[in-house]
Symmetry: C2
Subunit: 416 residues, 2 copies
């Protein structure tokens, strides 16, 4: 029978095998004490199975407080793979998440526990349609081929009226961007109600498309209660918009999956709140595991941070996340990774070298707006940076014949 596999990093001062057996029991048919009805047959059919234990290093100090005392003086780290019977779970993401990421973080023997990866069986394919647009659909809607999509975030994040937002969008369209998004903080707020913002912004975007033939994709942040999100989607669609944005963690998995079934537009997935789940290396989630749930749910774009970002994430982690977005899940479900945070042309060569793909959305803010020759030169500098990256030509060399890139290097070169 099909099983669901989950990989963990964990740490314990208890006897490793016993601790892992307890974890497998707690997340399936076992409990702290033996109970009537827990027959060998039931355990064989419904117990989680310990598939692999790989010992890693030992440490002197526990990563997390609160673990139950043990005889051991040192804390053993290990990578562990468990498998769960499909019969316990069915093709259900929420139940699967309960099994692979439920009570186990709190189990007494562990001074560290992190979910690294999860593998769904094929039955999940039939249950979840996944991204409706993904990379190809997003390229089709924007008309961008052969290079990353170039985008930006409306700033200030909050505070602009709908008309001020539309004025800025006009400027950003004219600067040559492919993609513009609301900030994650800007939803359907009293000072900028979504319906008014969509109307004002789409007037500008549609007018620009009529004049130039270029359809700029604007990701309107429809984050809200469920009915509010569905209405928000319909408003965007009605005004000719081509993308909706959702803050995945505050909204949650079931509502995102429900939106997908209703949606006729790409869903841009923002991961606000992600740091709480990931920032300690022996707690929470690796993005490799996390993003799989939201890809199944049907998100089309997923944020992965960027190289040399302003946050705390390492470049290795950023690239691992982005690669995973481009790696088929159940033979499909690939999504467009979204690079952002402190990005300008300078990270293009390293990003391309590490990722080996142009299938990404590259968001810059200051990298566009602060360009000495204005936003259009800022966008041009991004495009030129990616041309240089693709051709394998050093930025400084390419900049000799490309003034926009030259301006960007002069301004930001010392910062990167």
């Amino acid at each position: 029978m099909d099983r669901i596999y989950a990989t963990y990093r964990l740490e314990t001062a208890h006897e490793l095998r016993r601790a892992v057996d307890l974890m497998a029991g707690e997340q399936s048919a076992g409990t702290f004490v033996k109970v009537p009805g827990e027959t060998p047959e039931l355990l064989a059919n419904h117990g989680a199975r310990v598939e692999r234990i790989t010992e890693l290093e030992t440490v002197d100090v526990p990563s997390l407080p609160g673990a139950k005392p043990a005889k051991g003086q040192r804390y053993q780290r290990a990578e562990v793979v468990l498998s769960f019977p499909f019969a316990n779970i069915g093709p259900s993401m929420t139940t699967c998440m309960t099994a692979v990421s439920g009570n186990l973080y709190e189990l007494g023997p562990f001074s560290g526990l992190r979910l690294m990866d999860v593998q769904f069986p094929p039955a999940f394919k039939d249950a979840y349609p996944g991204p409706q647009f993904g990379i190809e659909g997003t390229r089709r809607l924007t008309g961008v081929e052969g290079r990353p999509l170039l985008g930006t975030i409306i700033k200030p994040s909050v505070g602009f009226s709908p008309q001020q937002t539309a004025d800025l969008v006009k400027l950003l369209c004219e600067a040559g961007l492919d993609f513009i998004k609301d900030d994650e903080l800007q939803t359907n707020s009293p000072h900028s109600p979504l319906a008014e913002r969509v109307q004002a912004v789409m007037r500008v975007v549609n007018d620009f498309a009529d004049r130039t033939g270029k359809q700029v994709m604007v990701a309107f942040n429809i984050t809200g209660d469920l009915d509010e999100m569905l209405r928000g989607h319909d408003i965007v669609l009605e005004h000719g918009g081509t993308c909706v944005m959702v803050n995945l963690i505050p909204v949650g998995l079931a509502a995102v999956a429900h939106l997908r079934r209703h949606s006729q537009l790409p869903i841009h997935g923002h991961r606000a709140g992600w740091g709480a789940l990931t920032r300690h290396p022996y707690l929470g989630w690796e993005y490799i595991a996390f993003q799989k749930f939201f890809r199944l749910a049907g998100v089309d774009h997923l944020h992965v941070n960027g190289l040399r970002n302003k946050f705390c994430e390492s470049d290795e982690s950023v690239i691992a996340s982005a690669r995973e977005c481009l790696t088929p899940l159940l033979d499909g479900y690939t999504v467009l990774p979204v690079f952002s945070s402190g990005q300008w042309a300078g990270q293009a060569p390293d990003t391309y070298q590490a990722l080996g793909s142009l299938d990404l959305l590259y968001l810059a803010g200051g990298g566009i707006m602060a360009h000495p020759d204005g936003p259009a030169a800022g966008v041009a500098s991004l495009r030129e940076g990616w041309e240089a990256a693709l051709a394998g030509i050093p930025l400084a060399e390419y900049a000799q014949t490309h003034p926009a890139l030259r301006g960007a290097l002069a301004l930001y070169g010392g910062l990167s």
Copy 2:
């Protein structure tokens, strides 16, 4: 104008005030660099405000890796209160969560950041109806007054067929329990489809009610995709059931709030996955903050762990969580705290003393099933433990005239 307040514990080697200003800016109208349009007026109207900074201790070693280098050699801890303009957010839980618990965990200066509490303005009252049943409604449906509700969890967690589950429920009803719940792992699974389980179990429960007049509340775990949950609720209602259960974190806030608007039954909220958000003391969430969102969403019962539990949570944290569930939020929204994990009569006196209330649901497993005189004596021992607690009589003394409690003390007394 109304504002939303959030309290944090944080840690930084950077200049404290500057780091906190950055945090306030990032979560409202500011960004890493100054942008056009960020006028003094806009910042005054839409910026988050630093309300209070209280310095705590300094430490030598950062709590979390990845913070950006600073000149400081020591890490300053502090408690900080920020306030956010209502105009940015509106009466929206998902937007509020994005503001108070969004990107800020990843901000470069911080080697630790935890959301401790949040305060919603009165406008949230109109937007969210909150718990439909709460403490009073649950007491009314179960007919239990003057003592805690006594309950248990169906074990084995998974693996029983619907009929086996019903057979166990019959035994548990006859043992005198007020409340029986599915395990968080047991949802609408292939081996125990919800519709069949509800039908088999409610036949037993309804028959018991007809014979005895006692309506035992069974919390059926309807966790699943949104439509599946709504159907699950309707099935439970149709068969005369009186409670549905949801795994709050895997399902997510927007879908839970939507279920509440559809529901005619109390919603039992399980917090599977909570450990990932809370277990590091300088990361993630305090339960004080977390539970407020789900109370607003309309959950009626909320798990808080139990004293001397089998997990990693301290007794202080358990009691603080339970007290908070009983503390009015926006003048209402109180919910029934659910105590579980390793509970038997032994924790009743300490629980009562610390909580000062009988308004709780007290779940025991082994504390009932492993009683030497059988499950009915197990339930009686819990009831007697709470009688003793309420009367202020030591358990050992009360046990002299109460054989069920005496049996429990003999068996578990050495363990506690």
